[in-house]
Amino acid sequence: MSRRKRTRTIRSAAQSLTITENAMAETNIKYGLIAEFDTTADTLHAAAMVRDAGYRRWDVFTPFPVHGMDEAMGLPRSKVGWFTFFAGLTGFTLGMLMIWWMNAYDYPIVVGGKPLFSPIFSFPVAYECTILLGAFGSLFGMLFLNRLPKLYNPLFRSVRFARVTHDKFFIVVEATDPRFSDIDTRKLLERAGSKHIEEVRD
């Protein structure tokens, strides 16, 4: 390796070191502990243990939906249904109003000897509007409740976490949880059967 080239390598290494140091300085907030698991059964069991230990700010990440996880995590029932219901109700009302407005008020035309407005012929369209807005209510209600879209998550800093979309299961206990403690939480996750636990900093 020529001398000039070596100098450049050293310089770039030094540069990257400085960047890392700067990054470390900026991201010194502890985000939480992340524990890795290999199977659904282990993860379900560990989730139940974390639930029973009384943690509040924690989550489970899996490559696919796991049956029974809601109970294992002790999650309350989803509130998405309320968004669906009221959005559907709005859709039904708007659908009926729309047809009344167009056929009986704004531009009244008699068609086939039928009344200008009747809930009978309006029903299929109002019903479709119910479904459309109900679906919107479900989708956007879900996004709203999950605070999505979310472009950044401190967990992206963990290299091993990338495998959550492939074949690994993770339980994350956030440092903001009132029960969180470096030692006890780590011990709990170890007892729950995790073979790899690491701290994530943001």
Binding site: T39, T40, A41, L44, H45, A48, R51, D52, G68, E71, A72, G74, R77, G81, F85, G112, G113, I120, F121, F123, P124
Partner: protein
């Protein structure tokens, strides 16, 4: 299954207060019916037809539940399947109970039987079906098919209780696969020949599926009550869990919407086309207090159960579900009445003492037979290969059960 041996003999225990109820209903209903048959034959014939169509709904619905269980290769419904199998096996009893209708049909029930097809185009157009021969041949064929299917499905299920062989499951699956087509055709024929034929001039291509939707809805309400009762009295307490109750509730909810969809579609198409040959049926049913019955069907048969069943936890709440299922019986009775009774009481809705008598008689006979069936066989398919899965032991390597800590 090592968990369950063949010596399971949980009997259906009925409290001493209620033990005499089925026999009481049978005798009371029979007395009222017999008197009515001679005093007011025309009313009796229609009341009897009303009760017959009401209970036929439940029996056919039971057979449908068994068939879809096999067609979907379902696991959750294994512990409750035997109840549906017994309900379906009430169909041969229904064949015997059809005899009074067969006797009274020409004289007192179906007007078309007394008409000359050469002078009535609507009748002439339906000629091969709407003849005396056609009516009786169809009745025999329908009951033979139903009895054969119901009996075969239960026979292989009981065979599996002894052997535990998978071949029984395959047999039942084959009966269900062919049977579902026969079921659709025969149920439609039954609904047309026995109920729609009261006004033979009428057309509605949705009538079969209308009766089917109402039937399965009522059956699910009955099924929910029976399973909840058997779970409480102990026969099914070991195998029926939240999952089963929830899923029956979900099906009931689905059929609440499906019935409304079909009933509305039938009305909507006829309303929109506005052809006198079709509209007369509904015009008749908007006279007097029948109009209120129409509204009761819209709001009581659909809107109320729909709103009550919306929440997930509602399907598990017995204080809500038990009254709701009984309400479903009432609504189905009103629905059948809406179809049949305007023929004898065109101006106003009526609840005749003979309606109640015939309903009591059918309820008595069928519940007696059901209890006899239930007590002479294992309460659930004890060796079904899918039973373990239904009981939630299929998670390979699962450790302790994960119950939410209350």
């Amino acid at each position: 299954m090592a968990l369950h041996d063949t010596s399971v003999t949980e009997k259906l225990v009925v409290g001493p207060k209620w033990r005499k109820l089925p026999l009481g209903l049978l005798i009371g209903g029979a007395i009222i019916g017999l008197i009515g048959a001679f005093v007011n034959t025309r009313q009796f014939a229609h009341s009897y037809l009303l009760a017959f169509m009401f209970f036929l709904s439940i029996c056919l619905g039971g057979m449908f539940l068994v068939m879809i269980h096999h067609l979907f290769d379902a696991a959750w419904s294994v512990p409750v399947r035997r109840v549906a199998e017994h309900i379906a096996c009430l169909l041969p009893i229904m064949a015997a109970l059809f005899v009074p209708i067969a006797i009274l049909a020409p004289g007192y029930i179906y007007e078309w039987m007394r008409r000359d097809p050469h002078l009535d185009h609507a009748l002439h157009a339906k000629h091969p079906l709407f003849t005396m021969g056609g009516f009786y041949i169809i009745a025999v064929v329908l009951f033979v098919i139903w009895s054969w299917l119901a009996w075969s499905l239960r026979k292989w299920s009981l065979e599996q209780d002894k052997t535990g062989a998978a071949v029984c499951t395959f047999k039942m699956r084959k009966y269900s696969a062919g049977g579902i087509y026969l079921f659709a055709l025969t149920l439609t024929l039954g609904a047309i020949m026995w109920m729609k034929a009261l006004e033979h001039q009428w057309f509605s291509t949705m009538y079969g599926v209308y009766y089917y939707a109402a039937s399965v809805w009522t059956t699910l309400a009955t099924f929910y009550l029976l399973v909840a009762f058997l779970k409480r009295t102990g026969s099914l307490s070991g195998v029926v869990h939240t999952r089963q109750m929830h899923d029956i509730g979900v099906l009931l909810f689905a059929f609440t919407v499906f019935y409304a969809y079909i009933a509305f579609s039938q009305y909507f198409l006829i309303w929109n086309a506005a052809i006198p040959e079709e509209t007369f049926w509904y015009v008749k049913r908007e006279q007097g207090s029948w109009w209120q019955i129409c509204m009761l069907l819209v709001f009581g048969h659909f809107a109320l159960p729909f709103l009550l069943l919306l929440r997930i936890d509602a399907k598990l709440s017995l204080p809500l579900m038990v009254p709701l299922c009984i309400w479903a019986w009432l609504m189905h009775f009103i629905d059948m009445s809406f179809n049949i009774i305007p023929l004898v009481s065109p101006n106003d809705f009526q609840l005749h003492i003979l309606d109640i008598g015939c309903m009591a008689f059918f309820a008595g006979v069928l519940s007696l037979v059901f209890i006899k069936y239930f007590n002479s066989h294992p309460p659930y398919p004890i060796k079904d290969p899918r039973l373990g899965e239904a009981l939630g032991v299929h998670h390979a390597g699962a450790r302790a059960p994960i119950a939410a800590s209350e």
